[in-house]
């Protein structure tokens, strides 16, 4: 009995050891395989969310007067910038950057859209927004809506928009606003964030990697 028990114990131990090694190796291999896409995104300049965030339903207007809802963010990637037409420095600079991004990504024109959402709906009528965005790129989409609807969207995206009154001239108030570009994925989920300093080349290379891993 004893002569038989020892080899059997040894066999069990060996089996256990081999199984453990195999399990660890298999786990290692599987996790490496599964995380391959994510691991490639670790050195992005963009902020890439581990879990893209779904958006609550919203209803806005595009610059042609058509409804702009969650549906308009599905089936393609959307680059979104929040700003206003009375913004002469940051907003034109950012829209120029987005135009450069669009030019560099023109081969994927059907899969990318560029949207400028007003944080100043009081002054930014659809017409005015249309003139503003078309100056940078005729494919860009200007979006406005009621103050409530825009507030509801900015809050869920963590976008800040704060009106600053001008004591000398009530018509010329300023609006502090988030300076980052938001990336919405083809499911219509908030997927990544490009923060200043914004450079078209960096945005394009980060976006290409994000879209490949998607």
């Amino acid at each position: 009995m004893t002569t038989q028990r020892t080899p059997s114990k040894l066999r069990l131990a060996l089996l256990f050891a081999v199984t453990t090694v195999l399990a660890v190796a298999a786990g290692y291999w599987t996790s490496g395989y599964l995380l391959k896409g994510q691991a490639g995104l670790q050195d992005l300049q963009a902020t890439h969310f581990n879990a893209a965030r779904a958006l609550q339903p919203f209803e806005l207007l595009d610059h042609t007067g058509k409804a702009f809802t969650n549906n308009e963010l599905r089936g393609h990637w959307s680059f979104i910038f929040f700003g206003y037409t009375h913004c002469p420095d940051v907003c034109p600079t950012t829209l120029s950057v987005l135009n450069s991004v669009a030019t560099r990504l023109r081969e994927q024109a059907g899969q990318t859209r560029y949207i400028f959402i007003s944080v100043d709906p009081e002054r930014d009528t659809p017409d005015k927004l249309g003139q503003f965005v078309s100056y940078f790129n005729t494919d860009f989409i200007g979006v406005t809506g009621t103050t409530e609807a825009i507030g509801q969207l900015t809050r869920q995206l963590g976008v800040i928009a704060a009106r600053v009154e001008d004591g000398a001239d009530a018509e010329n108030y300023l609006v502090d606003h988030t300076a980052s570009i938001l990336l919405i994925d083809p499911d219509g989920h908030f997927h990544a964030l490009f923060s200043p300093p914004l450079k078209a080349a960096n945005i394009v290379s980060d976006f290409t990697r994000i879209a490949e891993a998607y």
Binding site: P88, F132, V164, D176, A179, P197, K199, A200
Partner: protein, 153 residues
Amino acid sequence: MKLKGIALLTLFYSLIAAADSPLVVTEPWIREAPPGAGVLAAYMVISNRGTDTATIGTIESPDFKRIEVHRTLVEEGVARMVPVEALQIAAAGQVALEPGGMHLMLYHPKRPLREGDSVTLELQQSDAACIRVNVPVVRMTADDTADHHHHHH
């Protein structure tokens, strides 16, 4: 940053100094804005060749209702524009007004301004002369605006 030839020449050769002012303005330009824009931005480098700090009190132009100096600040991802009450240039120093930084806010243009147009700005130095600067309107076409001055020096 790519500027069209003529505008670029205008930038290089617009060196304006009033005989009785220590201030010299170089590379002035107004960013062409979309049609109907209510506010435009102007940029320039102001150098002080004097031995005292120079202060620019008011800036006026026959082509705009009102002009202010603002500074763009991006803090925690939020862009703010902060009015600069008095633009000061240290003795033998210079101040650069550039995209994403300090700029002139040109409110309510009195005529449509397109690339190729130019505008006179009057910089009133406190207790000193008024400097007249001829500023071309320039269309920006690329994205690396922060490097504007470095690329063209």
